[in-house]
């Protein structure tokens, strides 16, 4: 599904990704861990097409297509979803109008007719219940005045609405209380199928107790320095990065 080969990327003239190689098949869950500043969010931003970053080398294939040549909105419509580490507040743009535009853009891309008002509201209601997102929140402007945890829950609600084929969850667990973490993780698990894949970026084993990864990668200084099974995260928890890398 996703094939990253020797990916280099920089921001403001500074190289952050220094040759990433990663292969992800449908049905898999990959965890990416790594110290602060290693380049985890940079990798997700580059995959999503954030124009602030420049790809200097390498290639990325997504479902057989050249991902890096697509505009960000096309990547999204092709099924790539990023749950932002820091979701953006958009005052004045209602969650409803925002989601309707997103859902219908994807449907149009797939040659499907736009949802009518009734169908759309039904979909909103169904997906909201998946992550137990408060009705009041979908009635407000996008993320405006949402608490940290509410923003993260809202990201997974949007993921449920858009049914992506590859989801990148960038520290979706940070800011969530114990109960919210379980609810959000269960939501992610319910959305998981043999046709889609998930990349979970996290610092903590706690999330991986719920979302059990097939592979764990350690990203340090712009490169994947180790790859293992779910037990690698446990080893990391025990030894820390310094101990692990010795």
């Amino acid at each position: 599904m996703l094939d990253i080969k020797n990916l280099h990327a920089s921001i403001a003239g500074k190289e952050i990704l220094k040759g990433i190689n990663l292969h992800i098949n449908a049905g898999e869950t990959h965890a990416i861990m790594g110290p602060n500043g290693a380049g985890k969010s940079t990798l997700s931003a580059v995959l999503a097409g954030n124009p602030a970053y420049t790809v200097t080398e390498g290639e990325v294939t997504f479902n057989g297509k050249d991902l890096l040549s697509m505009a960000p909105e096309v990547r999204a419509r092709e099924g790539l979803f990023l749950s932002f580490q820091y979701p953006v507040e958009i005052p004045g743009v209602s969650m409803t109008n925002f989601m309707r535009a997103a859902v219908n853009a994807k449907r149009e891309h797939q040659g499907m007719p736009a949802l009518n008002a009734g169908e759309f509201l039904k979909l909103m209601r169904a997906k909201r219940s998946l992550v137990e997102l408060d009705n009041k929140l979908t009635g407000r402007s996008v993320n405006e005045g949402f608490s940290g945890g509410e923003k993260k829950r809202n990201e997974i609600f949007q993921m449920a609405m858009l049914e992506p084929c590859l989801s990148i969850l960038d520290e979706t667990d940070s800011g969530l209380d114990i109960d919210a973490l379980r609810i959000v993780a269960e939501g992610v698990n319910k959305l998981h199928t043999e046709e889609n894949a998930t990349i979970v970026i996290t610092h903590y084993q706690r999330l991986l107790d719920y979302i059990v990864p097939d592979y764990v990668h350690i990203l340090a200084d712009g490169q994947i320095v180790r790859t293992g099974g779910k037990e690698l995260a446990l080893e990391l928890e025990e030894k820390g990065y310094a101990g692990l890398m010795q």
Partner: protein, 219 residues
């Protein structure tokens, strides 16, 4: 250039919509008597990319407890130019005025807003507000804003604010990441930007018509 004179009698409520100000100068001289209420809506949404618009609003409150509301919005594209000048004079006590003007400027267009607010020495208990917010949609677009406050009375409530910014790039990328095309994203962001001006119309139907005009202009 002709000046339109308007005298608003005591207790009278007047609503003025100034919508077509292309290639001419819309100049108004308005005096307001006691307890009168004047509401002006100014729209600069000319389709033609090559027009120059001038709007001069010269308003004086000559009777106490008069209220003046000026709401304006404009979307300027191509080589359009606009020059909006408001001159609001509180000559007597207990008056109220509130101005809210917003402009989105694109391409090589240029917008200028000069807001003169004068509170005469005896115009105590005046409550005057002026807000001007602008967004530049292209690096070559320009906005010039100039609030001029002359306040000669001491027991008054006056405030003014002027800001010029750009479309929030992080919001734009967030929306694109959800599959929304940049044009559509910008339209949603600008609808949000103009929202508070539009709601002052108090008529859903007119509001929607103006929104469509804004969307057309931005295509």
């Amino acid at each position: 250039m002709s000046v339109q004179h308007l005298h608003i009698a005591a207790g009278e409520h007047k609503h003025l919509v100034i919508a077509h100000v292309s290639d001419e100068t819309a100049q108004w001289r308005i005096t307001q008597e006691k307890d009168s209420v004047l509401t002006i809506h100014l729209f600069c949404l000319e389709k033609d990319d090559d027009t120059t618009c001038n709007a001069l609003l010269d308003i004086e409150q000559v009777g106490e407890y008069a209220e003046t509301y000026i709401y304006g919005l404009g979307v300027l594209t191509g080589k359009q130019q606009i020059n909006v000048r408001t001159h609001v004079r509180h000559s007597v006590p207990n008056g109220k005025s509130s101005q809210l003007l917003k402009f989105a400027v694109k391409d090589n267009a240029r917008a200028e807003f000069v807001g003169e607010l004068i509170v005469a020495p005896n115009a105590q208990h005046t409550d005057a507000r002026q807000t001007n917010r602008n967004v530049l949609l292209s690096p070559t677009a320009t906005m010039h804003t100039q609030p001029q406050l002359e306040i000669y009375a001491d027991d008054v409530k006056c405030s003014h604010g002027a800001t010029t910014g750009q479309i929030d790039e992080s919001a734009l990328f967030y929306m694109q990441q959800r599959g929304i095309a940049p044009d559509e994203a910008r339209r949603l962001l600008l609808t949000a930007f103009f929202h508070d001006v539009l709601t002052t119309l108090g008529e859903q139907e007119v509001e929607e018509r103006i929104q469509r005009r804004i969307a057309e202009k931005l295509q």
